[in-house]
Symmetry: C2
Subunit: 522 residues, 2 copies
Amino acid sequence: MSQAMQKNDDLVMIRDITFISKAENLLPTIHQTIIKAQNIITLVNDPKAVHGWSAKVISPATVYFNQSFQTGESYIIDFGQHGVGYLSFLCDAVGSPPDAPAHIKFTFAETLSELAEPFGQYQGWLSKSWLQEHDEYIDVLPAQITLSRRYCFRYLKIEIVSLSPKYNLTFKDIEFKTVSSAPKYCIECQTQDPQLAKIDQVSVHTLRNCMQEVFEDGPKRDRRLWLGDLRLQALVNNVTFKQHDLVRRCLYLFASHRREDGMVSANIFVKPQIIADDTFLFDYSLFYIDVLYDYFMATSDHNTVKELWPIALQQIDIALKRCDEYGLVIDSDDWWSFIDWHEKLNKQGASQGVLIYCLDKAIKLSQTFQPEISSNLQQKLDFVKHAADQLWDDKSGFYISGAQRQVSYATQIWMILADVGDRNHQQKLMNKLLLTPPDIGMNTPYLRHHYILALLKVGMKKQAIDEIKAYWGKMVEYGADTFWELFDPNDLNYSPYGNKIINSYCHAWSCTPAWFIRQYSL
Amino acid sequence: MSQAMQKNDDLVMIRDITFISKAENLLPTIHQTIIKAQNIITLVNDPKAVHGWSAKVISPATVYFNQSFQTGESYIIDFGQHGVGYLSFLCDAVGSPPDAPAHIKFTFAETLSELAEPFGQYQGWLSKSWLQEHDEYIDVLPAQITLSRRYCFRYLKIEIVSLSPKYNLTFKDIEFKTVSSAPKYCIECQTQDPQLAKIDQVSVHTLRNCMQEVFEDGPKRDRRLWLGDLRLQALVNNVTFKQHDLVRRCLYLFASHRREDGMVSANIFVKPQIIADDTFLFDYSLFYIDVLYDYFMATSDHNTVKELWPIALQQIDIALKRCDEYGLVIDSDDWWSFIDWHEKLNKQGASQGVLIYCLDKAIKLSQTFQPEISSNLQQKLDFVKHAADQLWDDKSGFYISGAQRQVSYATQIWMILADVGDRNHQQKLMNKLLLTPPDIGMNTPYLRHHYILALLKVGMKKQAIDEIKAYWGKMVEYGADTFWELFDPNDLNYSPYGNKIINSYCHAWSCTPAWFIRQYSL
């Protein structure tokens, strides 16, 4: 999630036992649903399909459950939907008593490409250990087996690696016990547009599968609570499952283990114990304020927000320390801000926008929880907002970022969300962005979310809908039943990690169309 | 263990609940011993070593327990002795919090060749699933892990297949919890010969590691109760651990599930339930009598032998049905007798010897348990012994076997053990065998055992000792700390299965020197 990897070996951290205890008490109930194997499929090379592979149904899965398999045979099960959970099956021998162990290999895949492209050839820079596979050696048959690890998949490849020639193997009752802390019931979507209704459904399914003991970013990879993802998940949760206690738990988790100066980490590990990652991101830490603000708006839970407000405020203080004397975020090589997965993107301009945006939310919270500092915060807001004017480039009609005066989508989007300039200025800027798109585009659904938000902010509802349909709708056309971490309609193999098979294909930050559709009555 | 594979799909079997229950009540106590990792070694190409590989010690294992490892690193632990059991270890991360699962691969090896030669290249005809490997994916660190399968090894290779670059991995408390139903105490060996004392020690270690819930043939492969192996193990057990109840249990197991006509199977599976294999061997079934006889000699357990005697007797009746009108075992392609692992060996002559040998034991048992049939059995013995004279070839001075009149070690050995001819005849035959060895030699320690027995029978004690030293002593010289399933001093890579790495290197039928040394006071 960070643009590259941070390693900070000698951090001093604050550990807050009270917050840890509160977070642990909010551990959600995990709901289970059994998904049955649906069809047996084969992979077909298909230039029109995403990643070049489509599925051809061979037979209903039940047909295969009546067959037996020998060494070297394999088959692919389509469970008909993406899920997160545990695989179980009953395995038995047919023929002579099994006189050698059965070695079976399982490959779990969110997409067909994970089955088509051998894991052995993976050369990306994220750990290969994320690729989901398992070798099972069965010494005694029949065997009722539940694999101990949680997997995330729609497709399952079963390979009979090795048996004895004296027996064949049968599989029965292959079950996928899916898990989620989202309840079965979800508020119904009211849109009349069938395409948006479908997009909403896929969004909700994405969120459901990411809702586990925390809001995970992606249940295949990284399976972790990231602040940037949490912020968007909490929005969608507010209009779908309303599991506010899960948001509350996550707020406590981030508060429970912070850097010495109070900065909240970009993400939190919860097992074997609650521990903050040593990755710190300028924008993500600031978003703690935004998540707290949205939580308060959704719940009016005065006690929790009052308790966490000082931690939110700390994020403002820490961020302001990174500004120069004129209130501009200093650009250098020693800081990290996420904004988008984009190697060439300069983050200064967008980060300035994030700071202004979050200061505004801080002011709103302060009015309830610490009104005596509201005017001081307002002064700070005016100061950094004014500083943003330095980034305006009259000649190009865009905000620039960094010493190279880079023009990017990200900077314009965040200046609009930061409410810089008046409505007329923002509308003109957005129109300009639509008419003369900068070279530095948008790589992630995460930045695309903020783009939609900016469109809606300036009143371009139709363009927002068109963009949702063109982007998330396109994923649906490609067969997505959960939304992807990364999607570039012009480069379907795009991955910032060096290989698309390590991408997450059910990713929290991609689930926000449901929020747009419901919140803005699209 | 059978020369090739038998598959008999439509067998009708007898299932005896009483015997099953008795066998289950005799389930032995399993004793545990912890073996600590001893040294870290590296493999060295060494033309003088068995299979071309020797081990060079890099450091004591404890040195490695203070180090941490990254993706791509691997090391080999030598536990200092061969064992059977369960691996456990404590695995932890060093560096940033582990942000990706740890994928570790374990390879378990009885011999260095199993580590030097990639399993992926294995092309033998026995199932590759016997090769001992395991991939562990650890989602949460630190992790105290005990692998669920039982492994059989002295050497353990640990490969760090994939971590995140943000952390390294440490291993602590790598323990090998070995298991055996042999007690810690073993009767001391009295030999004064240091080489024989060493051979005895390796024999006893071999037997100990094969003694589990049954007498297994080999704890790496096949891990199963075979009648031919049981017979030799029971002998050694009588002079070492004296676990007579384990022999008794195995006798009940073979009796509990037999072919419709009463024939006992060549081997028995005990999990998930007691079931006879569909492999039936002429010689092995007859040996049921011999095991029962030896058990009676060792224990005087009248009740058990009385109960099982009718089953033993059935094996004689079934074997005699395979004889022609002159009392000679009919040679054809539709029967199976083990004798030795030898593609070219004709089994008729040796099988005739086994029949005579077992008839003699049956007569001895009948004198106690059914004296009224002793004389009838004696007539049958005389008849088949007389028939054996047909196999004598005056011209060559050897017994021949089959239509091709094949001369082999196996036939001569079994004629001597069958006590055909007088002592002078047998001595002459053995001398002839030593002076003019036939082309069809001995491939297994199993046949070699019978060769030693024949030497001792004709009074050639010195030659027997020399042979034990030359054969089993040679394995010790090559570093064996348990004796091997297969050993040909002239072809160290010999395997009847197509690849030496599938051979078992701790194999029951190879443990009999301890019996010779102790029983014959060598």
